[in-house]
Symmetry: C2
Subunit: 146 residues, 2 copies
């Protein structure tokens, strides 16, 4: 038998889901005043980190289909937060970019999100936070190319 205090696989999966669920709710509350959904924030975040990437690449980074990302981008374009390049690239690619308004909103959103994550990690010291990041990264990558 295993040690009764060791974590079962199912329990670990549930914990990951729970933590993400509650974080999502708190982020949703924090972003609502800025008229941004969590999905939209994540999209802008990725676009900020890699300006000019295509919708398909954006979809891959968010782990959704390009059709789903297309819907999200249409909404953001309607809100004037993203712009499509006029010219096409090599494979019909159209570079997506943040508008200056989006940069400003993203700045505020980042602060709001940081506050939420700060609350989440309040009981952790810096070593714990680095551990958490390292472990989550390992889990993600193991599922992706394991």
């Amino acid at each position: 038998m295993n040690d009764a205090r060791s974590t079962s696989p199912e329990q670990l999966g549930v914990l990951l889901k729970d933590a993400q669920s509650v974080l999502h709710q708190r982020m949703d509350e924090a972003l609502r005043p800025l008229d941004l959904s969590v999905s939209q924030y994540a999209c802008l975040h990725h676009l900020h980190q890699a300006p000019g990437i295509t919708a398909s690449e954006l979809a891959r980074r968010a782990f959704v289909t390009r059709q789903a990302m297309s819907v999200l981008l249409k909404g953001l374009q309607r809100q004037g937060l993203v712009a499509r390049a006029d010219e096409q690239g090599p494979r019909r690619e159209r570079a997506m970019t943040l508008t200056s308004e989006a940069e400003e909103i993203l700045h505020q959103a980042g602060a709001a999100v940081s506050e939420v994550v700060g609350l989440m990690t309040a009981p952790l010291d810096q070593a714990d936070r680095d551990d958490l990041a390292r472990l989550l990264l390992a889990c993600r990558d193991s599922l992706l190319h394991g």
Copy 2:
């Protein structure tokens, strides 16, 4: 300035979301042969751990509204996996229970999920897994009553 290698708050939030996204996809694939969605599996999982609880309590544990949980339970009832108690409790409460068929399916589902989580945590030793569980628990609780 902080150490350049330390993790930014936003990055930690994105990592948590990413890990959960990919885990959700893998679980979805693993559970599809059993005709179970991830949400349905989680519902059965909670019901197995606390047999006879109400729909409202189930909703709280899954971090959704009782209306959303009600829809989920209706689907599971149609599939013959959960049953509502005939008699009402103190506050119109109706105890929800798993059918014997559900217990059997949940057994298979647990094995499938364990395999996925096992893959996810393959690069981690037992100390890392316990750390991850401890940290996720702390994050969840800090957001809930922080």
